[in-house]
Symmetry: C2
Subunit: 522 residues, 2 copies
Amino acid sequence: MRIASLSDFLLQRIDRGGKAGTPRKAVNRQIYQVIREAILDQSLPAGLQLPSSRYLALELGVSRNTVTYAYDQLLAEGFLESRMGAGTFVADTEPERIAAAATPDRAGATPERDAGQRIHTGLSARGSQLVGLAGVGETQWGAFMPGVPDVTQFPNRIWSRLQNKYWRRSRADLLTYSCGGGYLPLREAIADYLRVARSVNCDASQILITTGIHQSIDLVARMVCDHGDHAWVEDPCYWGTRSVLRSVGVHTVAIPVDGEGMQLPLEDSRHPPRLIVATPSHQYPLGMVMSLARRRALLEYAAAHKAWIVEDDYDSEFRYGSRPIASLQGLDAHDRVLYLGTFSKTLFPGLRIGYLVVPGTLAESFATGLSELYRCGHTYTQAILTDFMTEGHFASHIRRMRLVYAERLRLLREAISFHFGDRIILTGGEAGLHLALGLPDHCDDIALCHAAGKEGIVVRPLSRYYLRPETARRGLMLGYGSVPDERIRPAFDILASVIKAHWPEWQAQAGRGVPALEPALG
Amino acid sequence: MRIASLSDFLLQRIDRGGKAGTPRKAVNRQIYQVIREAILDQSLPAGLQLPSSRYLALELGVSRNTVTYAYDQLLAEGFLESRMGAGTFVADTEPERIAAAATPDRAGATPERDAGQRIHTGLSARGSQLVGLAGVGETQWGAFMPGVPDVTQFPNRIWSRLQNKYWRRSRADLLTYSCGGGYLPLREAIADYLRVARSVNCDASQILITTGIHQSIDLVARMVCDHGDHAWVEDPCYWGTRSVLRSVGVHTVAIPVDGEGMQLPLEDSRHPPRLIVATPSHQYPLGMVMSLARRRALLEYAAAHKAWIVEDDYDSEFRYGSRPIASLQGLDAHDRVLYLGTFSKTLFPGLRIGYLVVPGTLAESFATGLSELYRCGHTYTQAILTDFMTEGHFASHIRRMRLVYAERLRLLREAISFHFGDRIILTGGEAGLHLALGLPDHCDDIALCHAAGKEGIVVRPLSRYYLRPETARRGLMLGYGSVPDERIRPAFDILASVIKAHWPEWQAQAGRGVPALEPALG
């Protein structure tokens, strides 16, 4: 699609708020993002001249600063280029986009190259990229926010009782800075849990208590990667992984996934990565399980090339109808796996407690690095969590929630089936807290999510999780964990009508079946 | 001093534990650190051949792996070099050490250069440097741990009451992920506080809630600095500042301090820094206040060169006997200051809540960066803290603790005076929670602290806070905040005898006065 009028194109896609309950993004960021997407999908082709910021501001009815901010960001990141006396043009980024798998992805390639232009915004090139490509949403609750458990079912009273026990008397060791890998009794409780529930080979000395997956990845990236090192990440992957890695100078190399998980380009050993980040138990966001053959190949490759593997095991406590998948770490005979987990999904995200299991040889260095970089604390919370685990509340909360989520998944599937029959492909529904719902390639999933947001439905576009825009599949990430049973059908009814409105063939082809995404998502 | 026998030298300095109550560092790290210090102070001169790891292990009575680990780290960092077939030698690092002010300091200069050697430890060059130069201690409580408030005086009951109020009913918004800059009512309470107490110009939209000074500096470094950018830091400075900056690829340039604070090399504008980190209200660790002339010069320099200033205002709530010093941020007419504060000193460190105040133009980007990088939460704790502040408990706790700390400072000064009269120079005692006690240049403050540790006294060597070892002054950092009144004198009595034992002239010159550190520390 070529865009005839940039201002019309923007007017259709920019939300200037007004509607209650829909927190909006700042208009300057929206302009930035819409133009960026349009450049990436070539709706705005290289060489096209953009209207002046003054003209565009008038057309959009916004202040000129708002437009200038967006233009400056895009200039700083190399999406636009300014030609002296002539105006602002879409830059030619095509050659870089052709370089595909096993080369650093476009956006992460050279954060420094535009350092000269960063004066515009006051941010560094990496800061500007971080904001421009941010994956975090401005809403963190509601149907169908993915990746969020039902925090209203958390056993407050039990937690509160344990909390009061610790607060009754002051214990200096729980209130001051922590050091080493965290509160030892908690590390012991986690090691016990992981050995049994996830077949992780570890003892307490290998466990580090972090504030969650982000801090764990950040620590790993700084401890084992230098600036310019390559990390293989699944494509699509979790936005946090790529943002954290890039912000510490690690180049993310997009590795495609298929039905067996990450498709390692094992024949290419010219540029072995320093790090390989994978979600073997439940690929994020698509949900497939990495096959045993792939697991073995991955472990062998890492051992042979001295690469470290990060196993992000973010939500595999919740698996419905099939046996839990054992961890990759448990298979590893060469101590190459760094295993990541979190209590964000099993208890509540605001707790900010996660853990990192490292090989014994790295344990002491990682513990020092953790204290040195983050100056940790929260030991009183770690003590409460220890009791929560050792008294059995953790295990029983997981058991209870597994039933709750299984029922919600059933209700959501039923709602989807009611509206779309089998004409829509779902993946990821064997475990976790979300489903990925596939849409045809020409469906604009970003516009769809935007429209859904206006109806009060939080939903994330699948294409945003891809590193290489040219291979991005369209679809929706639907979280069901936090949606009360009785809210699932009504919320999906609203979403279904938005989906149908953004699916041009829907009306025409109704009853005939719509081309689906089997090969890519299966 | 030349070292005759490396094994004897190490045996004298390595603690293999055994004594109760003195947590010890792993022997491999101790060996690493002792050798590193000796190379830096030239006790082990360049070109000297080291004993083989097998021989040294035998002499020390440790496993060979223990020695190999230390050697490998030192090789990876370039302190040692391995000559094929000949053995291991002290590397010639002299030329780099001569480059002084306004050039990146030695250790931070080129973290990548040894990337080829990092296979030894499995760590990256930056990870290895982080561990090798770690400033964090393994003990965080006890006389005279610096930088720690008396957490036993925290009003538990009030906190517990507020906590129970929030835990009684589940509020999903407090338990899930947070987004933006943190809990808005807390940002408002902090803005109100800072405007009045610290003369900071701000409103709530400019406040970002972080987990403390470390996260604040980390966010700033990634948002406004790229890899290879220069940051000016005071020399001496807080170890956390330099470790965090280096770990994200920012070169730390050591700027000396004198009685007026940071001595800006303003005439040198060939390499303006991207960032200038200062502690204007209470220089860390020496304690002087930056003069107004210097403040103005710093602000002008930053405005002219588009540098960002980080004002680390870590403990200026506690100022005794003189008026509080207004913030540098409040003087700034050009929006170049990023202001950092924390509740670690005013409430308790384990709380992990700090704040960052940024210019309005950066606020939105920083809020996005904060959520994107760290995936924040802890909103329930932020809500409790809000009530604690708005109900007046925060202000009254500070008032009460100011009296407590003033009395402890008096007791500590009295104890020092009893043992040393006026023959020892003290600085930093007008504010905060610690004193810096100066020692003659040939006193080995590291060995002294080590010996004090064996007597159960936690104390930190001043020389460790310097970036340029050749200018490091010797002394002790004495925290008095967390030491009960009645414990101060007995603890200092023990420390005094350790000091005297490490001060060769003490006995000889007793009564005549010992050369002091006036110019450097004053």
